[in-house]
C-alpha cells in the first residue's frame, strides 16, 4: 500500500487510472449489454419488436411474465428464439387454452404477420434458433430413403413408423405428423417443443432435416398413395385386429346366420 501511495504523484498515474477505468467500463458493458441483434437499429425491425411487444403483453404475458422471464405458469422465453415462437403460435398451440399434460394443436388465432412480430419481440429478448427460410426446409430434391432411415432412427420411437403419432407417459403424446407443414416440422426439430428433444444443426444438419421432411411428406400425407387400400389409421395390428374381428369375422357370422336360415325344407310350408 505504501508503495502504491508513494507513486500517486507519478506523472503517469493519471494515464494508468484512466486505462483501468476504461477497461472496467468496457468490460461491464460487454458483460451486460443486450445481444447484438437487439441493437440492430433498422427501423422495420424495431417496429416489429415494438408491435410484437404489444401483442405479447396482451396475449402471452399473463403466463410468461411481462418481460418474457417466465412465471410459475409458463417457462421463460429468453433465448427460445423466433423459430420456437413461429412453431408454437403458428400451429395454434400457443396461446394455451388450459394447463394439462400437453398443450394440444388447435386453431391458429394470430395472422402470420402478427406471429412474425411476436417472434421478433421474443428473439430480441435473447438469441435462439431463427425461423428457417423456405430454402432451408423445402423438401425438394431431398433423399427420401435416407430420410426414412433417419426417421426410423430418431423419430419413430415416439411418432410411429410413418408419423401416425404415439403415446407418451401420463397423458402426453407425440402428435401425428400428417398435416404438419415442412416449416413447422423443421422448427420442431430445431427447437424441441414440449416433450420433444431438440435436434440442433450440430447433431442433425440441415440436409438431414430436409430428408426427414421429404420422407414424412411421401409416406404420411393426404396425397400419399396407400396401395393396400384404406390404411385403417396406419397404427398397426391393434386397428387391424379390431377390424378383422368386427368386420371380418362379424360379416362372416352374418353370412353364416343367413346360410343357416335358408335351408332345404322337408315340406313346403
Amino acid at each position: 500500500m505504501k508503495k502504491l501511495s508513494a507513486r500517486r504523484r507519478h506523472p503517469l498515474a493519471a494515464v494508468v487510472v484512466l486505462l483501468l477505468a476504461l477497461a472496467a467500463t468496457g468490460g461491464l458493458y460487454a458483460a451486460f449489454a443486450p445481444a447484438g441483434k437487439a441493437q440492430a437499429d433498422e427501423t422495420a425491425q424495431s417496429l416489429a419488436i415494438e408491435e410484437g411487444k404489444k401483442l405479447y403483453t396482451v396475449g402471452c404475458a399473463s403466463c410468461h411474465g411481462t418481460g418474457g422471464q417466465g412465471t410459475t405458469d409458463g417457462p421463460s422465453l429468453v433465448g427460445v428464439g423466433s423459430a420456437a415462437v413461429d412453431f408454437q403460435v403458428g400451429t395454434g398451440r400457443m396461446p394455451a387454452q388450459q394447463p394439462g399434460a400437453q398443450v394440444p394443436e388447435k386453431k391458429v388465432i394470430y395472422s402470420q404477420a402478427e406471429i412474425d412480430q411476436l417472434a421478433a419481440y421474443i428473439a430480441s429478448l435473447g438469441a435462439g434458433p431463427i425461423t428457417p427460410t423456405e430454402k432451408q426446409y423445402s423438401p425438394d430434391g431431398a433423399d427420401i430413403a435416407r430420410g426414412g432411415d433417419l426417421f426410423r432412427t430418431n423419430c419413430a420411437q415416439c411418432h410411429n413408423f410413418t408419423g401416425a403419432g404415439g403415446a407418451l407417459t401420463h397423458g402426453k403424446y407425440a402428435p401425428p405428423l400428417n398435416d404438419v407443414s415442412p416449416k413447422h416440422i423443421y422448427e420442431a426439430m430445431q427447437t424441441g417443443p414440449q416433450n420433444m428433444p431438440s435436434f440442433p444443426d450440430t447433431t442433425m444438419p440441415e440436409q438431414e432435416k430436409k430428408d426427414i421432411i421429404a420422407y414424412i411428406r411421401t409416406v404420411n400425407d393426404d396425397r400419399t398413395a396407400t396401395p393396400g387400400g384404406f390404411a385403417l389409421g396406419g397404427v398397426g395390428p391393434v386397428s387391424e385386429g379390431l377390424f378383422g374381428w368386427i368386420f371380418g369375422l362379424g360379416s362372416l357370422i352374418a353370412v353364416a346366420v343367413w346360410v343357416a336360415a335358408h335351408t332345404a325344407k322337408a315340406k313346403k310350408s
Binding site: 419413430a156 403415446a167 395390428p237 387391424e240 362372416l252
Partner: protein
Amino acid sequence: MSTTTASDANRKAPAGERVADWADGRLGIYSLAKANMRKIFPDHWSFMLGEICLYSFLIIILTGVYLTLFFHPSMNEIEYHGSYVPMHGIRMTEAYASTLDISFDVRGGLLIRQIHHWAAVVFLAGMFVHMMRVFFTGAFRKPREINWLFGFLLFVLGMFTGFTGYSLPDDLLSGTGVRFTQGAILSMPIVGTYISMFLFGGEFPGHDIIARFYSIHILLLPGIMLGLVVAHLILVFYHKHTQFPGPGRTNKNVVGMPLLPVYMAKAGGFFFLVFGVIAVISALFTINPIWTMGPYRPDQVSTGAQPDWYMGFAEGLVRVMPGWEINLWGHTLVLGVLIPLVVFGVMLAAIALYPFIESWITGDKREHHLLDRPRNAPTRTALGVAWVTAYMIMLVGGGNDIFATHFHLSINSITWFVRIFFFLGPVIAFIVTKRICLGLQRRDKDKVLHGRESGIIKRLPHGEFVEIHEPLSQAQLHALTAHEQYTPAEIGPSVDENGVERKPSRTEKLRAKLSKGYYGEGNQIPKASVEEYKEITSGHGHH
C-alpha cells in the same frame, strides 16, 4: 343312379356311372360314401363357426403356396432398387426386399399377401369364437374331450404359425416382435440363454432366424395343423354333431339335414362366401403395410409396435407387469418377463383342461350329445365369461398406447386399470354372469308355468286389470325343460362298509365343495316340475 332292367341290359351305362365304377373298383368308395353320404347334420348358425375356420385355413394354404413362389427366406443384405421409391438404396435383407417385390412387382402379389394375412386374422378369431361356442354350450363333455384338445392345439399352433408368419418379412415391426420373443426366452431360468442361442444360431439377430421361421411356418406347424384338422373332422364325424335340445331331439339321435346333397351344397357355397368376404376385405383394406415400416435393424424401434391380435394378450401381460427382477448368486431372474410368460401358459392351460376339471367335479361319466343352454350351467358360463374378461382386459393392456392416444387417456392410468382389473374384472364378471344366468332360469321357469306375456290387458267385471298370459307350445315347453339338473356330489358315508369310521380325504372334501358351487342351493334354479305345471294349468290359483 340309374337302375338297369333286363330290356336295356345291353345298353352302355352312362359315362358318370362308368367312371364311378372304375373308381370304386380301385378305391372302394361306394361303401364309404354310402355310410357317410346320408350323415345327418343339425342346422344352427353357430355350428358353422368351425366351417369359417376350416375355410379360412384352406384360403391361407392356397395363398401361402403362391407367396412361397416369390419369397426369399434369406437374411443376406442387399441394396433395394425395386419400384418402391422411399426405400431406394436402403440396405435390407433379401426377405424384406422380396416381400417388397411381392407387394409392388409381383402380379397380384399384394392382394394375395393381404388375403393371406386377413384370412389368418379371421382364422384365429374364428377359432376363438368357435372354442367359446363349444365351451358355453358344454359341447366339450364326454365323448368330445379329446376333440376339444385337438381344437385347443389348433388354436395355439395357429397363434405360433401366425407369429412365425408375420415375422418372415423381417420388417421393423415384426423384428421388434422377434426381439420381444427372444427376451421372453432369455427370461427362462437356466435354459433361456441356451434356447436363444440354439434358436438364433448365436447372438440376436444372427443370420438364421428367418430361414428357420420359414421352415416352421410353411412346413412344420401347418403340417401338424393339417393333420389335426383332419383328426378333428374325423372325430366330428365319428361322434356325430351335437344339437340344441328341442322336440324330437334326444341324446341318441341327430335331427337335421343329410350331408348329401344338402350340406355339401351349403358347405360348398359357404366356402365361396367366406373366400369372397375375405377377398373383398383384402382388396379394400390394408393389412401389415411392411413398406411403411422399413427393414429390421436392432438399433431402430417404433412406437405402436404390437403383435397381431392373437398374441396381444401376451403383449399385454408383459406391458402391464412391473419390471421386477431378482439377483441371486450372480444370476438375474427377470420376473418382469418370466411371470407374464408363466401366466400366459397358465391361462391357456386353464381353458384346455377345463373339460377334465368339470367332469371330475360333476363326476359325470355319461355321454352328452345334447347341448346345454349357457344359462342352464351358470357356474360354467360364469367361469367362461371370467376367463374371456381376463383375456380381453389383457388385450387392452397390449394396446395401451393406442387406447391412450385415441381416447385421450394417460397410458399410466390404462396400465393401472389393467393391472387391477386383470384380477378384479373376472370376479365381477363371474358374479354378474351367474346372476344373469339364474335370472334367466327363473324367467324360463316363469314362462313354463305362467306362459308368455301377451301384452294384452283385460279388465275383469269387478274392475281388476290382468295381463293375458299365453301358454307356450309343447315344443317350447320341451326346449325350456329338457335340461338335466344335477344334485351336488356329497362326501361319501362317514363309516366304511365294515362300520369303521372313515376320514374323508381332502380331495373328496374339495370336490364336494366345488360341486356345491356348481349345483348347490342358490347356484341353479329348480326347473318347473310336472306337478307344479299341472297344478297351475289345472286352473287352481291361476289368474
